[in-house]
Symmetry: C2
Subunit: 206 residues, 2 copies
């Protein structure tokens, strides 16, 4: 199909398709002439994937680029493939420097106490420490230890199903882990609000 | 304190403080002269709250404005106060129209089957339906029914603690619900990735 048809098929503008091509998110079409290229089903599927990552996941173009590279050629080892998807999804946040302090590495200590296998250098720990630092600065009064344990108990149930439902082949696996991880974050957030409402009804009933 | 001191104390720029004043996010200081105003601890606390909502929660200024109005004067009834905070946090998304279709209101049916007390008009249901529509369009292959149940089981555990730890007085309650809801979303997302990694180690171990 022509570029205009590709745009129509996927519901994005021609400008957006050209932008994806220019940014290397979308492979070039097969050249028919000096000014016209032919696109196929793989292009349609790729555009839908990008839209999902951008619209549902709120990923920026640089992150989309990284994750597409990883799911195109993931590590054969499945544990390493999971790590590679997480690393590609990870967006470095500006650090205050406090997280560098050994005294502040409480999240690593917490995860070890939980029995998790921990890599000190994992940027997710810095994310956690940074989020809680910002929360406390904003005046959040939550028992951090309690809520970390409650949330970890909860997400372990989700992660068990996330991982158990992955296909065995590594390219398909990396793709589904990526989509599943990004896709369920907003579902979890919305369901938590609904569950809060049910709990308010239960706990505050006269 | 003067405006420059207020900025220094909270670590934001003078331009940002002026912007918050102009947008009505921050109450005006007490006028000392035609060109100078005096700010107090309440201003410091308010700026820290706004920073948390913007930086951790990723809220836009219009949403911050709405939630500040609600937590300043929440409904006395605590169930209604919870709803008011959720409504203020809610950002309307563009709809495809499909969610209007009665056939498509599967999320309402799902919640009823779960035993939740359901208001059909609750925009959170449309959010859920819209997120899953986008997920499926992007090529996500997840058993929707299974994952909705797994996620709901998980978030109910969190919501129970969210609600049980709220103070009784309605202004303090609304503030803590707001902050706790916004603050834990990223914590939950990061912990889920960590838990996925642990599960990959458990399930894929040779």
């Amino acid at each position: 199909m022509k570029l205009s048809r590709l745009a129509e098929e996927t519901g994005v503008s021609i400008t957006t398709v050209k932008y994806y091509l220019r940014e290397g998110l979308l492979p070039a079409g097969r050249l028919l002439s000096r000014t016209q290229a032919e696109y196929g089903e793989a292009h349609v599927e790729r555009i839908r994937l990008i839209r999902g990552l951008v619209e549902v996941g709120g990923l920026d173009v640089a992150t989309v680029h990284r994750v597409l590279m990883v799911i195109g050629d993931p590590p054969k080892d499945r544990v390493r493939a999971v790590e590679a998807v997480h690393d590609a999804l990870h967006v470095a946040r500006p650090r205050t420097g406090a997280a560098e302090d050994v005294q502040e590495r409480w999240a690593v200590t917490w995860a070890r106490a939980r029995g998790w296998t921990v890599d000190d250098a994992d940027p997710l720990f810095e994310d956690l420490e940074e989020v809680w630092r910002a929360n406390e600065e904003a005046g959040v009064q939550i028992d951090r230890q309690l809520m970390m344990d409650v949330c970890a108990d909860a997400v372990e149930r989700i992660a068990r199903v996330d991982i158990a439902s992955l296909p065995g082949e590594s390219v398909a696996m990396a793709r589904q882990l990526l989509l599943g991880t990004v896709a369920l974050d907003p579902v979890i957030a919305v369901l938590r609000r609904m569950a809060q409402r049910q709990e308010a009804l239960n706990q505050f009933a006269d």
